[in-house]
């Protein structure tokens, strides 16, 4: 039985509290998908009318008008006008207005009302407006707009019943807006919006007092950046230290699962595939879940409070230096944990060229998967000596690798902006919202959705890729009694044979070439791959790393080790990043470009390191 469910769209300016209203109406009954062909999220959810009939609510991207300036705004226009592929035209609209910013938000509302769809207006955040000394006459507004106007406070679920009832009435009556509203251009609409807003305002006092006071400190030319960097420091600390017990737990769980599978599945193809392929491969990516959740907790918190726009404001000048804008700051920051959420976060960048450049340099931010590789090599080759009070040589090298990545990213951004991503200097026009207290349930919901998205990816793309890599490493199988190891004899081993002449000039042996192949799944796999190659059988990771360090110190020269570090600063050794890039850029062109330029850079960087170190007699 398929019952016709009316489709209702939530529309409004950015910062109208649309998403909070959407969460309040639909609760956890939400579905996030993509509109076909574009990287714009389609957020939909179920709700019920007063009599229990179900309806579908979609949360359209916040827009300023039906004349789009970004892919997000284009989707909003196409959906409300009924010409978005794969979407029916909504039966009714809920226009969400910020009560404290009526004259601005009514401009878009007037344009939407002229479409003639049954409409209800949600006069949202009335509580904040009242706190700021603003009293509004909803009845007067309803009379002027010709549609029902319902005062709502999304975060306290106020006005939701009334909203559903009003919606029911306008849908049943197929009630189009009643006042003549066909204002042809934006200036005329703006004048009209101001008239209507002023008529609806009963009394007002100076608003934004709290926001102005906070901005006085947070946007202060000296205190502002210091506060931002202190906050970033806390976030980094949290991502790396709070996450480790959970990551250890997940690792232990993966190990237990693989023991269980080994014990229950008979030896052979399936056991090897499940234990060595799936559990090991997917497990190595899922381990990053705690870090990603902590990172997103801070990012969602910064977004919900309104601080994110201020962080972008402070960083804009520096980003402008390499042809980007403040909007690229958050995606790049996220990439220090993992490039996958970083690249996904580029969706908020409205300029296409800016977005592309940000995606292409995101893998140069030192993600946490590089840390295990760096740690092993540094411990084995860099002496533990102090170069200054409290500054150790090893820590300095690690810090240098981070800086190396950032400088590389800046240079690449500059080059890309004047070549493949050429375009006019991007602007940085951004509304700075009022500061707000975040709502815990909205944060929790957001975190849950990010985690689910990441796990779904681990369960699909990464799953498939790890099986592919496992096949390469397992077949053909080494004949009994051969002196070759399985990894040397396998298809991957033969590929390493082909790679060897390519990487020999930069100081890499065949063993290293062989370790680089499984490390395509995730960089830190290089550690266990090297351990396998040098036949280390250690009971746990720490002893493995320690034993591996000793073995490497005996076999690699210092120039080779330094070249190996330089390689990992640039090499795109993460199939998941490539897969996400393919999805976010809608094609194979840019992921292939990314692979080529990063491998090229990695080769050159490792080469220069190797040749210089050799020439210096290290």
């Amino acid at each position: 039985m398929t019952r016709h469910q009316p489709l209702i769209a939530l529309v409004g300016n950015p910062n109208a509290g649309k998403s909070a209203l959407f969460n309040a109406i639909t609760g956890a009954r939400q579905k996030i998908a993509n509109y076909p062909g574009v990287t714009v999220e389609r957020k939909s959810g179920r709700f019920s009318f007063a009599d229990g009939r179900p309806g579908e609510l979609i949360d359209l991207p916040g827009s300023y008008s039906l004349d789009p300036t970004s892919p997000d705004e284009a989707v909003t226009r196409d959906v409300v006008m009924g010409c978005q592929a794969g979407e029916r035209q909504p039966e009714a609209l809920i226009i969400v207005l910020d009560s404290a910013n009526l004259d601005q938000h009514l401009v878009f509302a007037l344009e939407l009302l002229a479409l003639g769809l049954p409409t209800v207006v949600a006069l949202n955040m009335v509580d904040l407006a009242e706190r700021d000394g603003l009293t509004l006459d909803a009845a007067r507004l309803a009379a002027d707009l010709g549609v029902p106007v319902i005062p709502t406070v999304a975060v306290r679920r106020k006005g939701l019943t009334e909203l559903a009832a009003a919606l029911d009435t306008v849908i049943l009556a197929k009630q189009a807006p009643q006042a003549p509203l066909g204002e042809p251009d934006m200036r005329a609409r703006r004048r009209r919006a101001e008239t209507i807003a002023h008529a609806a305002i009963v009394s007002q006092t100076d608003s934004r007092r709290w926001t102005d006071r906070a901005d006085g400190v947070l946007l202060h030319p000296f205190a502002g950046p210091i506060i931002l960097f202190a906050l970033l420091f806390v976030i980094f600390q949290a991502v790396f230290s709070w996450a480790s017990p959970f990551a250890d737990g997940l690792e232990a769980a993966a190990a237990a699962l693989s023991d269980l599978a080994s014990a229950t599945i008979p030896e052979g193809f399936f056991r090897s595939m499940i234990v060595d392929g799936i559990i090991a491969g997917v497990g190595s990516v899922v381990v990053f879940l705690p870090q990603i959740i902590i990172l997103f907790f801070f990012i969602l918190l910064m977004e919900a409070t309104g601080y994110m726009a201020r962080a972008a404001f402070i960083m804009d000048r520096m980003m402008a230096g390499v042809g980007l804008s403040g909007r690229s700051f958050i995606p790049l920051l996220s990439s220090f944990a993992c490039a996958i959420p970083g690249i996904m976060a580029t969706r908020s960048i409205s300029d296409e060229k800016d977005r592309l450049t940000t995606i292409l340099i995101a893998p140069l931010m030192t993600c946490s998967a590089r840390l295990p590789v760096y740690t092993v090599i540094i411990a084995a080759f860099i002496p533990q000596v102090a170069v200054g009070p409290g500054i150790g040589m090893q820590g300095l090298v690690l810090f240098g690798l981070y800086v190396f990545g950032i400088i590389g990213a800046m240079v690449v951004a500059l080059v890309l902006r004047s070549t493949v991503a050429k375009g006019g200097a991007s602007g940085f026009l951004m509304e700075m919202p009022k500061y707000q207290l975040p709502r815990i349930t909205d944060l929790a919901l957001g975190l849950w959705q990010r985690a689910a998205l990441f796990l779904r990816r681990a369960g699909t793309i990464i799953f498939a890729v790890t099986i592919g890599l496992w096949l390469l490493l397992t077949y053909p199988q080494v004949p009994a009694g051969s002196s070759m190891s399985q990894s040397e004899y396998s298809a991957a081993g033969r590929i390493a044979g082909v790679l060897e002449p390519v990487v020999a000039p930069i100081g890499f042996s065949r063993d290293i070439a062989l370790a680089l192949i499984p490390a395509m799944a995730a960089r830190e796999v290089a550690v266990s791959a090297l351990a396998t190659t040098y036949a280390i059988d250690a009971p746990d990771e720490e002893t493995e790393a320690l034993a591996l360090g000793e073995r490497l110190a005996g076999r690699w020269s210092l120039p080779t080790a330094l070249a190996f570090l330089a390689w990992f600063v640039f090499a795109p050794q993460c199939i998941s990043t490539i897969a996400v890039t393919k999805r976010e850029t809608n094609g194979w062109k840019w992921p292939i470009f990314m692979l080529a330029y990063l491998f090229g850079l990695a080769w050159v960087a490792a080469g220069i390191t190797f040749w210089t170190a050799t020439a210096l007699g290290l």
């Binding site: 300036t69 934006m186 934004r208 000296f222 000048r317 402008a320 602007g427 026009l429 509304e431």
Partner: protein, 87 residues
């Protein structure tokens, strides 16, 4: 006077905007935010120490960040002295 020269905290009315020097999307976005001829604006904050760029503009009940390069496309009516004291 151009917008980027307006002293912080002082209110002024926009006399003209040279749309031709703004990228078309940027112009559209400016208009959508109400930054248009006749609008009354003031500068709330300037960016961090080097360059003091971008600037945070107060328009209506909003604060909008804009780069100085684009603020230079906006010409202001000379403010009437004395009228500012009330702000």
């Amino acid at each position: 006077m151009l917008l980027d020269q307006l002293p912080t905290g002082q209110r002024a009315e926009i006399a003209a905007i040279d749309w031709s020097v703004l990228p078309s999307d940027e112009g559209k976005r400016l208009r959508a935010l109400g930054v248009d001829e006749g609008a009354s604006v003031s500068i709330r904050h300037r960016g961090i120490f080097f360059g003091r760029d971008p600037i945070a503009l107060s328009i209506g009940r909003m604060t909008v960040a804009i780069r100085r390069a684009h603020a230079r496309a906006i010409t202001l009516r000379e403010p009437k002295f004395g009228a500012e004291a009330a702000e």
